[in-house]
Symmetry: C2
Subunit: 195 residues, 2 copies
Amino acid sequence: MVMTKEKSILRVVGISGSLRRESFNRKALQTAKKIALEMGVDVDEIDLKELNIPMYDGDIESNGFPDAVQRLRNKVESADMLIIATPEYNHSISGALKNAIDWLSTGKNILDGKTAAIFGASNGLFGTMRAQAHLRQILNALNVIIAPQPQLFIRSAKEAFALDGSLSDQKLFLQMQKLIKKTIELTVLIKENKQ
Amino acid sequence: MVMTKEKSILRVVGISGSLRRESFNRKALQTAKKIALEMGVDVDEIDLKELNIPMYDGDIESNGFPDAVQRLRNKVESADMLIIATPEYNHSISGALKNAIDWLSTGKNILDGKTAAIFGASNGLFGTMRAQAHLRQILNALNVIIAPQPQLFIRSAKEAFALDGSLSDQKLFLQMQKLIKKTIELTVLIKENKQ
């Protein structure tokens, strides 16, 4: 990968759509952070469980953004790129992730023009394929740029992770490396073009 | 419509996916309740704003359902049919509605085999068309039976409602009547078949 001056100041945030502490999506996000760090990019993780933002409600918004929402918006606003690990609940993304996206989009769309690497892990055979399809449609609505390929579906998650929580399935690990690399390159390209 | 003995004991719950007090979806739900009542069916409204259920989190679930979640599950479990008014946020349903559905589905799927009438209102030209497409996919995953037609998209909502909050657009009102009637008939048919 060609390193650029811009890349060294790339700002990236990481979000897991699953709140559970031991979730495979949190674990997958940790592996993605390590991969990005090896490429010289530090990822600032936003923990939706800790942030504990309220459900989107126009009545709340009309009184101004709650503190937790404002913190979320500030963190994402300063980023060029997002890494999103999504679980699949009932063929779509989690309410927690959707709610966070809706708070980011309302008023000024904070996500406009940013890039995202998305992936997901599940114990099923399809590895969040349907949730990711919904997530792409949702992020498309907000002008978030997602590379069409590669796509990463961490299926049979119980077998894909080692005891230390790292993504040990080598095929999936290499796919994740490609996805992160591709998205960083895309982000650098867009960032350079803006400057 | 043919009235049946079963219909008199039909249990229906109504949910708005928008929390805002003055939302068009809350208003549309009130009109749907009146229409159902005229057909002899009382609708028990579940207010997600008042219920204030937490974000789905496997760590919380492993300690048992929170009180608000248990109340939600009990109300829906005793129902034969749901009426769901969905807003469209970023081409999909609200985080609040998705979160409620996820809490209803986890462990024992409370929604299994129930029927639903779904509709939505927005100020745009498509009247929640994309959110309803996602909602159908999500509810299909849970074996919720939704009639393929009629579908109801309350577009340009500002013009569709009267000052008293009722759905005053006559074409849309008649479509809502058809939708509620069709879904009640379907529910009666399914309920009779179960007995």
